[in-house]
Assembly symmetry: C2
Homo-oligomer: 210 residues x 2
């Protein structure tokens, strides 16, 4: 079988919402985590321990789709922004290319398109995300780059917009809706080679995506 | 006149050795610094204030060669490694491309070829240098990438080797010799589209380069 989906960052804030959705949807999945104990078990999900800061090429075996939703998080230093968000992503793309992956879904960020337009404190992170996205685009691996607004932990509504809202107060989106968008892109294998902005909105995710 | 050499990082540890050499060699030079007071005046050197973290495209006017020897230095945080060593270099390359620069001399670092082979503490810096070099190589701007060993402040000997010494104790090079190598690459307009390792050695710089 060569049609599994690899989720890198399975125990992260988006990953832990996405993995049960993939299980429920019956999508064969390999969930990569640094520490198995941090992820609940689900039917149809193979949990594999691996570390983005080390060699992890083995986890790509038998996978034709990849989701990168790993992030160093706000509580770590900028060394992890370099090592995980930027270099970890670059390494994942290199492995995806090597393994002939057919779709690489990158969870990027609002503002990654133009890091210098962002607030000073966010710039290192936005540079990391920008260059991770750039590496994916240049790799030739078919990509879906998602750029969600400010992430929130409220329940998802199942509705989004892919147009950047004018008011900065509206430039946010529940993590649960981002996970639903990822699921939808995997189901449809689309859109490919596009960058999609995601914000809370009025359009049903199934209509907005693909 | 469109044959000036732009030095980005003129008041840095290598830049402040290079600028007087360029003056002495009669090479028309634009020395970019954040703060004019930090650089001695020399005949034939135009000093221009600009900041790598802001817009600096104007300093490229009339320049056909560029030297990037700016560095955030060991006393700043990793935010500056992102903003100066990585993003500043990327911006400089973009401007060089826009202005049709004929040679971009990048002062990179030993270990930038394979950041993960370096010591853990150095990895963020080596990733920044790796991706700065990669951006230059991919830009299409004719490049000379110099990867010096551990930099020292002893007087230059005028002699180097471009082969990595086996003993780690020998993997160093005086900054003054690096500046002499830069001068030589500019004089010859060569080598182009090559990565050159530089360590203390036995070969005269004029013979080793170009």
């Amino acid at each position: 079988m060569n049609e599994r989906t690899l989720v890198i960052g399975s125990s992260g804030n988006i990953g832990k919402l996405l993995v049960p959705m993939l299980a429920k949807a019956g999508i064969p999945t390999v969930a990569m985590v640094r520490d198995k104990s941090k992820l609940e078990r689900h039917e149809g999900i193979e949990i594999v321990e691996a570390d983005l800061e080390k060699d992890f090429g083995h986890v790509f075996e038998g996978c034709n789709r990849v989701v990168f939703c790993a992030g160093s998080g706000p509580d770590t230093g900028l060394d992890k922004t370099f090592l995980v968000d930027l270099w970890g992503a670059r390494k994942a793309v290199a492995q995806a290319k090597k393994h002939g992956v057919e779709q690489f879904v990158m969870v990027s960020s609002m503002g990654a398109g133009d890091p210098e337009a962002g607030p000073q404190a966010m710039r290192p992170y936005l540079i990391a995300k920008h260059l991770a996205d750039e590496g994916l685009i240049q790799s030739g691996v078919p990509y879906t780059i998602l750029r969600p607004g400010q992430l929130t932990d409220v329940d998802g509504s199942g509705r989004i917009t892919t147009t950047v809202p004018e008011q900065s107060d509206d430039q946010k989106v529940p993590r649960e809706d981002v996970a639903s968008v990822i699921l939808e892109t995997l189901r449809k294998g689309a859109p490919l080679n596009e960058i999609v902005d995601i914000y809370q909105g009025e359009e049903a995710i199934e209509k907005a995506i693909g």
